[in-house]
């Protein structure tokens, strides 16, 4: 763990901070999270070479747990609540508690797995097998294997490795989506359909990021007054109505921020 944080009550590596908080030595309420974020930004500024992706992602994980802990503590205590609501709070707390404990246990186990692997690595199995003069009459293991099946096995064996991919062009379609593109597509599609629910609009999409980008595009169109968004009831279906007439939506002329999202 490389990333350090500096707060009025604590200075040191962030995982140590989490340890102290969970072991009662530092009150989470006393830990301002802003310095934690500052440390992260500073770490990023130093370049990922300084820490490595591993340490940085660990940092985000720990920071998220701290945030979760703190928000739990900051939430006002239930006041005049019916017992069932209180139980809900307990459930969440218990879940968080058990998750923290379990995470801690698996992290400790991981060290042990390394030690076991290292010990096992000191021994090498015999793999020389049978002497050549033994006749093996065992059944033909290639029975039913066609040249085509073999070719497929080759593709499977080589395509699995990320480095050995041959063609990714079909994936990039999903990989890079811009809100402006989505706005254009929706501006073409929605006038035809007039009223549609969000689920109907995105039901055919495969990747989550595509759905998200469509949603952002809808918000943009709403801001431009081209669609109205409605929801009959809480958690109900999101209804979309085109109210924008037939004028083309000016995309990329400055009106709409062209954000790019990568899946």
């Amino acid at each position: 763990m490389g990333v350090s944080v500096s707060t009025p009550v604590f200075e040191g590596p962030i995982d140590l901070l989490l340890h102290l908080v969970t072991s009662h030595e530092v009150d989470v309420l006393d830990v301002p999270l802003a310095p934690v974020v500052d440390a992260f930004v500073a770490a990023l500024a130093e370049g990922k070479d300084a820490y490595g992706m591993e340490a940085l992602s660990e940092f985000v994980l720990v920071a998220a747990i701290l945030l979760e802990l703190k928000s739990q503590r900051l939430l006002p205590g239930p006041d005049d609540v019916d017992p069932e609501d209180e139980l809900v709070g307990w459930d969440e707390r218990d879940l968080l508690l058990s998750r923290l404990l379990e995470c801690r246990a698996y992290a400790a186990v991981a060290d042990t797995l390394v030690k076991m692997t290292e010990a096992a690595d000191r021994s090498v199995p015999r793999l020389a097998g049978l002497e050549d003069d033994f006749v093996v009459h065992a059944p033909d293991l290639l029975e039913g294997v066609t040249p085509g099946a073999l070719a497929q096995a080759f593709v499977a064996a080589t395509a699995e490795r990320p480095g050995a991919r041959i063609d990714l062009s079909h994936v990039t379609v999903v990989d890079t989506l811009t809100v402006s593109e989505a706005v254009e597509e929706l501006a073409a599609e929605l006038p035809v359909r007039r009223r549609v629910t969000f689920a109907e609009l995105t039901g055919h999409l495969g990747a989550k990021i595509e759905v998200i980008v469509r949603f952002l595009a809808l918000l943009e169109l709403c801001k431009l007054g081209r669609v109205t968004l409605g929801q009959g009831r809480t958690f109900g279906a999101l209804e979309i109505e085109w109210v924008g007439g037939d004028e083309p939506v000016g995309v990329g002329v400055g009106a709409i921020v062209v954000d790019e999202y990568r899946g």
């Binding site: 969970t22 998220a64 205590g77 707390r93 923290l100 404990l101 246990a105 797995l113 021994s123």
Partner: protein, 190 residues
Amino acid sequence: MRDEELRRAIEAVVLVALEPVAPGLMAELFEEPVERVDAVAVELARRYERDERGFVLARVAGGWRFQSHPDQALYVERFANRDVSHRLSTAALETLAIVAYRQPVSRSQISALRGVNVDGVVRLLEQRGYIRAVGRAEGPGQPVLFGTTEMFLERLGLDSIGDLPPIEDFLPGPDAVVELEERLRPSVGD
């Protein structure tokens, strides 16, 4: 078959095998009770250890196999020029630990525990042959469930998954739990 004959037969068969040989298979080959085969193998392994052989008869992944003695690692590595650089990252190890102790377990269950997306790590572990799909969960989406492989056992030098150290040994003690719980209690009325 006398004990001595059984011992020789075990030595011969385990020597030519490419994978750990299950006692059950030897019992069939030799037409002897499996308990007897196993008892003779255990005694043989002890004997090698006592005689300070350069190899050991080890119980791995549910069977017996010959492997070099750990204290000969220097020469074996020099000879085989093995790259043991296949070290796993902390993230991969922790994920592997979760699969080992929670199997069968789905990607999203691991994700929920680790608090991060684990798709890449799960894929890596699958490609390395440490975990594999063992089935599908019931319910929406029927997510793939993962478990550890024979190779995982072999890499760790374990006979079976039951030989993993108990997870309880790694959980924080009761005091830590109580204190952690206190921390998480919504402070009513303060």
